[in-house]
Subunit: 428 residues, 2 copies
Amino acid sequence: MSSVSVGILGFGTVGTGVVHLLTEEQEKLQQQSGSHIHIEKILVRDIDKTRKIHFDDNRLTLDPDDILENPKIDIVIEVMGGIEDARNYLYKALKNRKHVVTANKDLMAIYGTELLQVAADHQCDLYYEASVGGAIPILRTLTDGLSADRIQKVMGIVNGTTNYILSKMNRESISYEEVLKEAQALGFAESDPTSDVEGLDAARKMVILSHLAYSVPVTLEDVRIEGITEISQKDIYYSKKLGYTIKLVGISELDDPYIDIRVSPTLLSTKHPLSSVENEYNAVYVYGKSVGETMFYGPGAGELPTAIAVVSDLISVVKNLNLGVNGHHIFLPKNEKKCKSPDSMKNQFFFRMHVLDQPGAFSKITSLLNEHGISLKKIIQEPIPNRHIAEVVIITHTVEEKLFELTYQQLKDLDVVMDVKNFYRVEG
Amino acid sequence: MSSVSVGILGFGTVGTGVVHLLTEEQEKLQQQSGSHIHIEKILVRDIDKTRKIHFDDNRLTLDPDDILENPKIDIVIEVMGGIEDARNYLYKALKNRKHVVTANKDLMAIYGTELLQVAADHQCDLYYEASVGGAIPILRTLTDGLSADRIQKVMGIVNGTTNYILSKMNRESISYEEVLKEAQALGFAESDPTSDVEGLDAARKMVILSHLAYSVPVTLEDVRIEGITEISQKDIYYSKKLGYTIKLVGISELDDPYIDIRVSPTLLSTKHPLSSVENEYNAVYVYGKSVGETMFYGPGAGELPTAIAVVSDLISVVKNLNLGVNGHHIFLPKNEKKCKSPDSMKNQFFFRMHVLDQPGAFSKITSLLNEHGISLKKIIQEPIPNRHIAEVVIITHTVEEKLFELTYQQLKDLDVVMDVKNFYRVEG
């Protein structure tokens, strides 16, 4: 049986999982891939650090070139994270005709198209299933499983931290700030949670998904991004009452030939398959012209789930190696990208406001909405005891976003309106 | 650009979908596969039959050898259904070195291992994604996406007809017989629904899934099968009350080195991801040693969803053809099969009975259960008005199946017990 040598860049959480699988599951991986897989070198930051699993010190290195320039190494696994160093290393690896497996969404969202081109030019494989949705094989589903269909919409709950926070806020009526603190203490949120809670992490994943769904060269600038930091218990309370769940959802839609991609807090009807995805789980919903609704669900992160995605990619690369067909499974964007103009976007909206509890107040609001042709789907009005104020919550029918935003501003100026809270998009 | 010729066996529902995609989506398929795909011949039963889509009469044939012995044809798509003829045709096609894509679960459940061996011997591809779960790419998920993991459990709602019937019974409090009649009128159930409602169709799909999950040569005889015909509204009523949903579930478990496969009505906790799969939708839940819980959801049947699975397989075959690597993606069983002995099975059980509403009756029942070491997880007792009878519903903790069945028989003989209804397995 042939033998294949791999070099691993990084020995953190995911790296540990990968090393664990490659050592503990040798026989299984040999059966699956047709080759013995041998770890030649691992790039680390500190050789002497105490690690969860034992690995021969002589095969740890501080010098990336021990891997990137090592003629013994066939395949490079990148699990170090970060952007610029990772890009330079993989660029070098591919130029040296080493195949690459990476779990790095930040890298692939920004330099994916460029790196895929370098891989194709050098007949190298570049697999990155682990970059989106942890163990959910969603990239393969888009490129292989549903390859005959025309994908029209991809919706993803692709950030575990924010889904954990919103699930807990939904269950326990605790404020965003409190839940975030608790999530940080439990390791479900980073000490600097910005990229998660502001939606950037999810946006990067939506870039990768959109590229494969529509075969267009999407960049991060194409994504409208809004985070979850403004969501209050009141928003959650009224959403539930109206039959919805608030989730941070990435939505990528094709309105041929235009695409529209956004990440934002979204009210999902409790009948939507995504609405029951709880805690740190991820799920990607794909709507295809012919297949209709499908959904793929699983753990979005974690040492072993992510490592399974990396090592399953590795098995594919080794199989390709044995068949001599590396570099033929690169999905470079084949279509031109046209982004939808913000002026033509339409959506349903949820918003709430405090109004004076006096005769005619509600009719002033509905008159304004009516003037702009905005019709209402659901309304709740609840008095706030002892304050002569009522809380009004509205879900509109589908309306042009631009028109809605204009009207929303005008509502603030009505004399009967005390304040208008944030608005959110509504699906289904 | 190269051109590839296909022959299609069958021009029914799925065949129509396949022909539709191959004619309407030529450009997209060319982009995906790298070749122009041309339909050379279609085997039909009646050339003159009126069809939903137009296709050149001269390329319809009544003679299978026009396809199987046709030197122009590279790939045979089998969408005719049935078992013996389909087997003989595909056997001949593979011996003539034609690659095969089939949607035929009955065939693959019975002759799968044999046909895969013939394909491997002749360096041919044999793809059959459409045979399980319609458009859900679940076979690829097991063979590629999760290839690095050790699958420990596969649970499937893989029969749309029974899921439609149970969903409707659950929503509308109508009897099984009434819902079946309605489903037949709407085309959701066959005029002879036996193979669906008795669980055989689901069992065949579980054979295919189990083979790929554990790489063992499973046969239909290895599956314990129970259908849904005995489920009553009372069963559904009490299940709901206790926090469960009754579904027809295929469960395939590995208790290394033993496997256990069954299809039976099962109470799923409403927290289980499968419990919210409604109507004609299918879903397959996969539990892997490293990835934990994943689930894949989509339409389980239908002209276009099934055709997408067939044509996505076709794209893979054409890509392999262009790379010269056909016959290298055959998953023949690599492990020995050991079935778990029925004596060692354990489960939780739900059952209900009518008992005399008199002092000491309930204690007689619990004494008997206690004698056998069966402990109770949930109990409901409801009096039946004006009849001095109570209905008692019990969910046990995990117990040996053999012991439970023995106790169940003894319960019938207690003087306070009037009757004991069917029992069902409980998950989670």
